[in-house]
Amino acid sequence: MATLDSKTPKGPIADKWTNHKNKINLVNPANKRLIDVIVVGTGLAGGSAAATLAELGYNVKAFCFQDSPRRAHSIAAQGGINAAKNYQGDGDSTYRLFYDTVKGGDYRSREANVYRLAEVSANIIDQCVAQGVPFARDYGGLLDNRSFGGVLVSRTFYAKGQTGQQLLLGAYSAMNRQIGRGKIKMYNRHEMLDVVVVDGKARGIIARNLVTGEIERHSAHAVVLGTGGYGNVFFLSTNAMGSNVTAAWKAHKKGAYFANPCYTQIHPTCIPVSGDHQSKLTLMSESLRNDGRIWVPKKMEDVKAIREGNLKPTQIAEEDRDYYLERRYPAFGNLVPRDVASRAAKERCDAGFGVNATGEAVYLDFASAIQRYGKEQATIKGLNVNDAALVKKLGQEVVKNKYGNLFQMYEKIVDEDPYETPMMIYPAVHYTMGGVWVDYNLMTTVPGLYAIGEANFSDHGANRLGASALMQGLADGYFVLPYTIGDYLADDIRTGPISTETPEFDEAEKNVRATIDKFVNNNGTKSVDYFHKRLGKIMWNKVGMSRNEQGLKEAIEEISALRAEFYSDVRVPGGANEYNEELAKAGRVADFLELGELFAKDALNRTESCGGHFREESVELDGPQKGEALRNDKEFAYVSAWEYKGEPKDAVLHKEELEFNDIELKQRSYK
């Protein structure tokens, strides 16, 4: 087992990034014109990186599988983006954002990266406003903020419930400017199917044109992956249907270590599964927990009556309700971090108190908030605070102003009116903190291959705080990678164009074609989705919110067996040289079937509980924290980085020891 070098610069944490920038190599503007960079993925990380690299003068080739870069899944982020601006004067600072993020991540992230993230966060807001991103503003015309879970300040900038959309459209517009100038060549509806490594350096990719089926070779001096997370290994998640691990996995197979695959964020407030036909899950923003109270009935007979349709939640008396988050965590109540809230919901449902037909749902109730706001409005307007109907009406108006679009989304999906009856919610897979291992420069273990945004592992540890994903994607793409990549490319100013007519490209293309040929000629009997759903069930039941040794061992065997069955029995209709979505899906699911096994192996190795990773064997046995997750800093304060060795079961573990010099390791307490 080797120890990994993060290449973190020396010196005080607050000076590391500035000193590093001052010392690294630069490429002069004339030479940048001689250098090509491939960026795969056009979400917040990939889109902002492509635009910025092109502004600097590099020749950029950008790839996305969607029909336009604007559709990358960053677009679906709702709540907001954090930045240490301290516009509210409430004591926020770079240090506080850094501290909250490290603590929220349960002390499993790399300090220096997180500090840098906090440091550049303020620039992101300036940059986005300059691009014309319409953030919410107050009546004085200045930017508005709101609060998110796990923090004590108001540092979240937002654009209603569509913050991700507006930020992505900002990055997309910056890309469009460079596409118009010819500095970015955009490849829509293209999927990366391999990384090409020449003399130990990433020098290009093999991509499939999803419209014509053509296999293309693209060369460059460096390759950047901004290809997002792998939550769809669970089949059901809040990710888009096309979100996949393929680019990251192919990179892994070419030598990039894969870090902490088992760190997955299960978001507590999603719309529950309604049936086997379901294709994806929908998130309800964390902001709802500011005003919604989470509960299940106290009495089992009430649960039964609800499931049989003989009782409505609104008919259950206050004393017969179990507001379990308020009960268990009086200090933070309904605003505990995501991992804690999710596990608590599962605990109640496992005990039999789930409130829908599947037994996997809890209530998120706005009745108290409606009452509170209603009385407040009645008082302000000088109306009768004892008029129940009036108070309710006024309260509903306030709630509508705050969360109207979310309530409407809920009503469309569930066909119930959340103003009148509590929402039903259940945790769902949302984000993956694990990803491709990168050093401080965001370079993977393959020289010249970079990973940014959700695709890498570095900033969120074992649990991500709300409104931090957008911050990290844009920090990496706008402000970090464009500097650090120059340090590497400075050696390539005399290399000249990279040829695609080399044995390495031949070999990579041959392998891609062989896989495709196998799928289209397989003549099995089952659809790709059939296998994907089965993989998802194994992952959710045995590698989901709560994990134990026996279940993980079973999962590893079951996934391995399922993979064999997939290759012998999958049916991919249509041909290789045409638009063929089933073929694209088959390739993605094949990679999920390998990643899933490594994911379980990583979870098995980490016998502690931390953040989103909960091992049933590792809980506090007594004291005030009884039953809570028990971290083991002595043995596990490291990043697990896995090296590919043929089969997922043979992957070799490398450790990056995590050093905490600026923050003291503590048990997270939300009691």
Partner: protein, 248 residues
């Protein structure tokens, strides 16, 4: 419920294409429209046929990838939603549903229900941006206060998801609502003023070159727009265009 589907099948861009009938049974009212098509596709694959190709991705109404002209309406009979947010409870047992691609000269069919909307991207390349480089030295975000009403209106315009329902629904296949949404967003913000003249002229020029039709103010686009983009934006773009033309 049991349904009859009449779906546009077209092998590729050069194929003539035709409507084909399918039967689908046991559809749950809780399914989304696209989940109903998933079920159909699984049936087709397992019986050895080719599935129906359609665009989709986020399935929560924000990415703008899904399309479909359902029973003669872009994104189907419900209002204020995309096709992926349309649920089968909007239909009745025994219904016949017609499913076609978004049709326009500037949106050529790629396969079945999938169309090529890259013309929309090219309009944005022509001017849908504010020219500001990334430097880390941009002026502070609060340096220029922006009147809340304008900020809110800019946001409302910016919520366009670029799905193309406005074009598909317009009898002239006009892209005015789409283009005006971006022109309006920047016209309402101080940051957008510097390039306002070139922006509107270049974007409109590109729109015309792509083969989109003219606007005759029927307002169908506003009705079918899943994000409720207002016709007011078209008026604002016309004002911007007139101002720019007089300057130019």
């Amino acid at each position: 419920m049991n349904l009859t589907l009449k779906i546009w099948r077209q092998k590729n861009a050069s194929d003539k294409g035709k409507m084909v009938d399918y039967k689908i049974n046991d559809v749950s009212p809780d399914m989304s429209f696209l989940e109903m098509l998933d079920v159909l596709n699984t049936q087709l694959i397992e019986s050895g046929d080719e599935p129906v190709a359609f665009d989709h991705d986020c399935r929560e109404g924000i990415c703008g990838m899904c399309s479909l002209y359902i029973n003669g309406e872009a994104h189907g009979p419900d209002r204020g939603v995309t096709t992926c947010q349309l649920h089968m409870r909007k239909f009745k047992d025994g219904d016949t549903i017609y499913i076609e691609p978004f049709r326009a000269k500037a949106f050529p069919v790629i396969k079945d229900l999938v169309v090529d909307r890259s013309s929309f991207d090219r309009i944005q390349h022509a001017g849908g941006f504010i020219s500001v480089n990334t430097s880390g030295n941009t002026q502070d975000a609060n340096a220029i206060p922006i009147n809340k009403e304008n900020a809110d209106k800019a946001f409302d315009a910016a919520t366009c998801i670029g799905c193309g329902a406005c074009v598909a629904t317009c009898k002239n296949s006009s892209a005015m609502l789409y283009v005006s949404a971006k022109v309006s967003q920047f016209a309402l913000l101080p940051q957008g003023q510097v390039e306002a003249t070139d922006r509107v002229l270049n974007m409109v020029k590109q729109m015309d070159e792509e083969g989109f039709g003219n606007c005759t103010n029927t307002g169908a686009c506003e009705v079918e727009c899943p994000k409720g983009i207002s016709l007011e934006n078209i008026a604002r773009m016309n004002t911007e265009f007139l101002k720019a033309s007089l300057k130019g």
